[in-house]
């Protein structure tokens, strides 16, 4: 059964690569990155990784929203409890996704193949990252029943919900970029996972009252910096329905920075 599914997924992937909308990509300079991303994304679904990740993500996000989040008890037609848990779920699930990103290529030796194809190295980095991000996007999109539920039960502000989803997607992107860079740094998947969780946690917790109060008392300068770098703080704006340009710039530069680190580290350590 598993073999059948895999075979079908593979056939689709092959057909996609041969007959897919390549023409539309034209000769865009990032065409190789798109091809790498397509292959990666197909690979997620050819292995159990995708299904396990999605099922666990959906079960946990749903369960947390309805139990701890008090979705019904609140009596409000919005997705605040849902969005409140997503960043914390991603904190563990995203590093689980990224820990194998480069480690697996090294283990199989395919890194040697991938990086000797005629494309700049950043395209491979970007392609693998985009695939992981698109995968998180798919997982997020599959939480749509909760959106339907809230619309059936009441009249929520769907604009706020959309901006909340955009925020979730950006948080996933930020964590992914951290995890991908750390996966390039070490061959050991456990180390990559633990480091990624730790570093993502720092960025998630930086703006929390505990940290900022502590810093305001001791090092007021750092308190501002911590708040500025906090992923959770930025995300808060999105859940209230505010998509601010400076927050988009923050996520853009955050992701860009870690992708750059990824490319540099990969260049230094690819031979290990």
């Amino acid at each position: 059964m598993n073999g059948m599914l895999r075979r079908i997924a593979d056939l689709i992937a092959a057909a996609w690569l041969i007959y897919g909308p390549e023409g539309k990509l034209g000769n865009l300079p990032w065409r190789p990155a798109c091809i790498v991303a397509k292959r990666e994304l197909a690979a997620y679904f050819a292995t159990p990784v995708a299904y396990v990740f999605i099922v666990i993500f959906l079960v946990l996000s749903g369960a947390l929203t309805f139990t701890l989040g008090g979705f019904f008890a609140r009596g409000q037609a919005d997705l605040m409890p849902f969005f409140g848990f997503i960043p914390w779920l991603f904190l563990f699930l995203v590093p689980a996704l990224t820990m194998r990103l480069w480690a697996e290529e090294r283990r199989q030796g395919t890194i040697e193949l991938l990086l000797t194809l005629p494309m700049p190295q950043w395209q491979a980095v970007l392609g693998k990252y985009l695939a992981a991000w698109a995968f998180c996007g798919i997982a997020l999109a599959l939480t749509f029943p909760i959106w339907i539920t809230v619309n059936v039960l009441g009249e929520p502000d769907n604009g706020v919900i959309v901006s909340g989803y955009v925020g979730c997607f950006l948080v996933a992107g930020a964590y992914l970029s951290v995890g991908a860079a750390l996966s390039a740094l070490t061959k050991n998947q456990v180390i990559a996972f633990v480091l990624a969780v730790a570093i993502c946690f720092i960025f998630a917790a930086a703006g929390s009252p505990v940290i900022t109060e502590f810093l305001t008392k001791r090092l007021p300068v750092l308190a501002e910096v911590a708040r500025g770098l906090s992923v959770a703080d930025r995300f808060g704006g999105f859940t209230r329905g505010v998509i601010a340009l400076r927050d988009l710039v923050f996520f853009g530069s955050f992701i860009g920075f870690w992708l750059f680190v990824n490319a540099v580290v990969l260049d230094l350590r690819k031979a290990d």
Binding site: R39, T47, G109, T110, E112, T116, P118, M119
Partner: protein
């Protein structure tokens, strides 16, 4: 006309250990260079640097005039590379995998499918075209790696142990293939199998402890000692015993 592969004083150090020490050679169109040496002599490291995977500590390598460090994309475009162990993505089908490498190389549409079909025909992979690579035998996997290197009909081929794990018939096929392609390409193959050098190579380089110790046609090598194997043993073991 300049040689298709030019290597000048290529050096790779890992910490204090020098894996490849000022290796220089060039390969012209029509030449098949057999790259020989004991395990750990620096064969794969040299090939990795030539393929642009590993940056050299010093020295340069050029493929069709393009420097692998300064102009890597251009150099890689003219290169077909079979890395050590013929790595492939196990979950992909043979067709999917070849289509992937082909489309990164810029082929699309009917040209892509023609090239994939031709590469599979050259390496006798048609029978397993839709099978996931992980279900294939070692010999098939190696041929998938070889097909990937041939797909774009590159002027330069760098093959790290192309016949490792193949049965005698398959070895024969691969050698025939290399011989057929030889007149139009510059080919470097690394191998442990000395008879292979006799069978397909026009030139042999023996490398030991990171340096080139012999660079001659195989026939000339044989006249010096008795068999190629004896020559190999004398050259690669001899100096080590003296220094020990």
């Amino acid at each position: 006309m300049a040689a298709l592969i030019e290597i000048e004083k290529l050096t790779k150090r890992f910490g204090g250990f020098t894996a490849v020490d000022e290796v220089s050679f060039s390969v012209n169109r029509g030449e098949v260079l057999g790259f020989l040496g004991p395990n750990g002599a620096g064969k794969s490291t040299t090939m990795r640097m030539l393929a642009g995977f590993m940056p050299p500590t010093a020295g340069t390598a050029r493929i069709c005039g393009a420097d692998v460090v300064e102009n890597p994309v251009e150099a890689k475009r003219s290169l077909g590379f079979l890395p050590e162990g013929a790595p492939t993505y196990p979950e992909m089908s043979v067709t999917g995998f070849l289509a992937f490498t082909g489309s990164v190389r810029g082929f699309r549409g009917s040209e892509l499918s023609d090239r994939v079909a031709l590469a599979m025909a050259q390496t006798q992979l048609e029978g397993v075209r839709l099978q996931p690579i992980e279900t294939l035998s070692k010999g098939f996997k190696r041929r998938v790696g070889l097909a990937q290197a041939l797909l774009h009909d590159p002027p330069v081929l760098v093959l790290d142990e192309p016949t490792d794990g193949l049965d005698p018939n398959q070895k024969h096929e691969v050698r025939e293939l290399i011989r057929r392609m030889a007149p139009t390409k510059a080919i470097v193959i690394s191998t442990h199998i000395l008879e292979e050098v006799d069978a397909v190579c026009t030139r042999a380089i023996i490398i030991a402890r990171g340096t080139v110790i012999v660079d001659k046609p195989p026939r000339e090598l044989e006249t010096e000692g008795r068999t190629l194997e004896e020559v190999f043993r004398r050259l690669t073991l001899g100096p080590a015993k003296e220094s020990a």
